[in-house]
Each structure stands twice: as structure tokens, then as C-alpha cells.
Amino acid sequence: MPAAGVVLIIAVVLIVAALVYYLVSTIFALRQIADGLDEAIASVGEIVEKSAPVNGIVTTINEHLDAGVSALEGLLVKKAGMQDAVGLVDGLYPGAGAQGFRDFPDSATVTPPRIAEVYTRGTLTLARLGREAPIAAASPSGGPVLRNVLGGSLAARALYPEVRQSRPSALPRSPIIGTDSPEQYVPSEEPGVRRRMKAKEEA
């Protein structure tokens, strides 16, 4: 046999050996893959089986919760009014008032009043009087400042009891003094000494 034939045989043997090695190794790898996929498929089957009733149960729970939310929203709006209801919700959950109620689409446009904010009496007095006026001026409700700048004394009068505001005629009149007063008093001769009355002098 010529040398070239021997070399050819050696080359073919090398190629076949490489084929056998790599293909057998690939077969083992594919077998491991198949085993792993079998385990994964078994677990996926368990997942599908266990999660099958979840959709129906969660849907039922959501239906019950939706009914509860609708009833509570309706009750709150009915009892407190739309504006105060939005203010209460916004006070408990800041920012929730902007979303409004689910069953009342118009509630999203209501500006929530500051129901949940607590101020001291002095702060409220300052707000009414308009001193510094940060609270009244920065009111999110957008209303005017409580104090009327031009009639500030009238605004302050609202702090006093009601008898001073609407029934001033019921109060006793102030005494009229001067030379034209209906009742004339004789001036005393000395400071601190009162002049004797006429009736006592005649007696």
C-alpha cells in the first residue's frame, strides 16, 4: 500500500473519531436537557393545576370589595355631601381627593376642603383677623381671605358676643355731657368734695 493510502486511512479514522466523540458528548448533553425539561414541565403542570381556581376566587373577592366600596362611597356622599366627603378622603389619604370617587366621576373636579387639618384657636383667630394671613391667603380652596381689609373693624367685631353685633340698640346709651346736656351737674367747690343737694339743704 502506498504511503498516501496510509495517510488517507489515518485521516478518515481521525475524522470518524472526532465525530464519535463530539456526537456522543452531544447526545449526553441533550439527554440532560431532556431530563431537566421533564422536571420543569412537571412543576409547570403543578403551577397550572394549583392556579386554576385563583382567577375565579380573586374575581369574586374583587366583586365583593367593589360592592363594599360602592356602598361606602354612596353612604359617605349621601351623609357628608360631595365636597366634605372628598375633603374627608383627602384628609385621610393626601392626594386621594384628586382621584375622586369611583362611582362619582364628577367628584374628581371637586376641590377638597381642608377638613383634616387642625389649627389652634390662636391660629384660627389670626386667620380670621387676617394678621400675617398665611392660612387664609394660602387656602387651597381658593376662596377669598376671611378678613375684609377695608372693613377690618367689622371683621374683628365678629369675635365678640352676638349682642354687640346685631342688637346695639338694646345697650344702654352713653351719657351726654356738655353745656347742652339734658342733666346739668353743679361743679364742686373743691376737688374731691361733692356739693350738697338742694333737698338736703332745705331740710
Partner: protein, 86 residues
């Protein structure tokens, strides 16, 4: 004879490296899939274990139903007791 030698050289220098390169690539990819498949299997097993608590949703469903009924009763009483806003 010269052609024979040329064929041998081509077989050893070209064909054999190409075959080895291609088979090595296939084997490498196949071995690279194995850990991924094992991770998928582990994740699926963990997901299946996490869903063991799914039957408790039945209890949750029952509790939600009772809670909503209680809230509805309470709301009905409030509707009678508290005056309307307008």
C-alpha cells in the same frame, strides 16, 4: 499519486478542522443549555411551592364576603341614624 497526496493534505488540513470546529460548537451550545434548563426547573418547582397557599384564597373569599356583609349592615344602620347632608 500527486493528486492523492493533495487529497490527503486537504483532508487533514481543511476537512478535519472544519468537522472538529462544527462539532465542538454544537457540543458547547448543548452543554450551555443544560444549566439554563436546570434553573428553569428549579424556578418552576419554587413557583409551584409558592402556590401551595392558593387554597387559602377560599378562606379569604369567605372572610371578605362576611366583612362586606357586616359593613353593609353597619352602613344601613348609619343611613338610618345619621341625617343626610342635603
Amino acid at each position: 499519486m500527486t493528486l492523492w497526496w493533495i487529497g490527503d493534505i486537504l483532508l487533514l488540513v481543511v476537512v478535519l478542522p472544519v468537522v472538529v470546529y462544527l462539532l465542538h460548537g454544537v457540543l458547547s451550545e448543548a452543554r450551555g443549555i443544560v444549566p439554563s434548563v436546570r434553573r428553569i426547573g428549579a424556578a418552576a418547582a419554587a413557583g409551584s411551592k409558592d402556590l401551595d397557599a392558593a387554597p387559602l384564597l377560599l378562606t379569604t373569599q369567605d372572610q371578605v364576603k362576611k366583612t362586606i356583609e357586616t359593613v353593609a349592615d353597619y352602613g344601613g344602620s348609619l343611613d338610618v341614624i345619621v341625617d343626610d347632608a342635603s
